[in-house]
């Protein structure tokens, strides 16, 4: 799960990642890894890839602003990875 999320962030937002290592507690917004549009791209990816539903109340930095927080959020949501070759994977690549 962690690897999938990290890979998505590095691939979808290469300008922010720039090949650097992303620590689990790094703030994705404050570090410039993703921007506000990227938050929405991230949410859509998590829903598609892990089969969860993100409600408005879930859309808060506490759930989404670091890889550690995302993993804890996915665990609370009972996330399971969707098939890697299914349609969800196709939505994992977003242009920046």
């Amino acid at each position: 799960m962690r690897d999938i999320v990290t890979q998505f962030i590095c691939e979808a937002f290469p300008a922010g990642a720039q090949g650097r290592r992303i620590e689990g507690d790094t703030s994705l917004l404050e570090s410039g890894l993703i921007d506000s549009t990227g938050v929405l791209e991230l949410v859509e990816f998590l829903e598609s890839r892990f089969g969860i539903s993100v409600d408005d109340a879930d859309l808060v930095p506490e759930n989404l602003d670091s890889i550690d927080r995302i993993c804890r959020f996915l665990a609370r949501k009972g996330a399971g990875a969707a098939p890697a070759d299914g349609p969800a994977r196709a939505s994992g690549r977003l242009s920046g």
């Binding site: 917004l29 549009t37 929405l40 859509e44 408005d56 808060v60 242009s95």
Partner: protein, 125 residues
């Protein structure tokens, strides 16, 4: 008295991509029903959606909140006023924040090219 300012720039292609890939789920997460009624029938739908997204982000910045627990996109509705210029209507957490900072009015401006949409917001107290 100016209490806050915000400026935002959005790539139209990224909003168009979210709409194309995720459709209604994305649209309902960000835009109010009235905004969708205004934007979706238009030939330049994606530009209008991107402009509104930029405007909401600009208002976030003017409110001094950014993306936060208390303010989300649907709490800020951007529609043309009587003159045709865009006007922001704030609700719930966004309105609470505006009132808490003593804001009386949000001034808004949106501009765009085919590729980029930008908006500025000024909160007057």
């Amino acid at each position: 008295m100016i209490l806050g300012t915000g400026l935002d720039l959005v790539e139209v292609a990224r909003i168009a991509d979210l709409v194309r890939r995720h459709g209604e789920r994305f649209l309902k997460r960000v835009y109010t029903d009235a905004e969708l009624e205004y934007c979706l029938p238009r030939a330049s739908r994606d530009v209008h959606l991107a402009g509104r997204f930029a405007a909401k982000e600009a208002v976030f910045k003017a409110l001094g909140t950014g993306w936060s627990e208390t303010v989300s996109w649907r709490q800020i509705e951007i529609l043309p006023g009587p003159s045709g210029a865009p006007e922001a209507t704030l609700r719930r957490g966004a309105l609470d924040r505006l009132q808490a900072m003593g804001g009386r009015r949000v001034h808004l401006s949106i501009t765009h090219t085919a590729d980029l949409a930008s908006a500025s917001a000024i909160i007057e107290g």
